[in-house]
Amino acid sequence: MDKRKLVQALFAFTTNAHVQGFFHGTIYRGKLKSACVPGLNCYSCPGALGSCPIGAMQAVEGSTTYGFSMYVTGFLVFVGLLAGRFVCGWLCPFGLIQELLHKLPTRKIKVPKKANDILKWVKYLILLIFVIFLPILTADKFGISTPWFCKYICPAGTLEGGIPLLLANRPLRQAIGFLFSWKLLILMLVILASILIFRPFCHYLCPLGAFYGMFNPVSIRRYQIDRSKCTNCGLCRTHCKMDIDVCKNPNSSECIRCGECVKSCPTGALTGMTTRRKPQKAPCNDKIAD
């Protein structure tokens, strides 16, 4: 097991350590849940010790008292600014699940660049429409609204929360209806896509990844290319599973900081860093690439 997988697994286990919940069909009800975890981790998962930031944001927006969540937005800006989408690559349990599914030995699909360039914007629309606008704008006269993303889209909630709870909790099973079928369909599609495509949910649908991705170009933890060492061999590009031209844009909003490009660089030109270093002129292109 490589270092990243180990960190992913340890973090997923640590933040979902309420193991008895899986057997009893219950969830953790302690005070830790007032804090958010950085990744997409449904708070209705029987094991969850913290709150999903996307769910928490909608919960606050959809409450009687508040229209917008300063607490969760501040948390997301803080995490995004520290590390950008490092969270996606190293700390998100749903990202880990997709990666494990992708390891199944089947034929893999590479999404054409044009389609990829269009589809990647869908996650930003989901963030704006389903996570921010709809929960704020559709509040009833008491100020309460539906968590639109969680209710109609989120496959993580179905997988991490819905299925384990329904398996262990008979009264909940009796309440299954059309909505569960719909969410199960989305989950099946995401699972199938994950087997064929590397992290399709992170690529195209995840509002949390969209939020953190906006901070990738300015985050404190970032990648930098030493242009004096770069030979423009293109190995970083070919090893990137998120289809990023790393040499041109090492801090792309799509980068999940998995580090494959850094590992593949034969000259050590590409590094992950948190310190300031002056970017150097490029042999492979004329953009400043840090």
Partner: protein
């Protein structure tokens, strides 16, 4: 100000300050309690029931 590193550093300082200000304001307003109240009960919408 022309140096992109300086610009980025200013941006980082500004947004870190803003992030802390938002988090603290949210905490003072009691948003964490709202999150807790929602998260300690099974969210039927989230799991596809409600």
């Amino acid at each position: 100000m022309k140096n992109p590193i300086h610009k980025r550093r200013l941006f980082q300082i500004f947004f870190l300050t803003a992030a802390f200000a938002l988090m603290i304001t949210g905490l003072i307003n009691g948003e964490a309690q709202t999150v807790l109240a929602k998260a300690v009960n099974i969210c039927l919408e989230c799991i596809g029931i409600g």
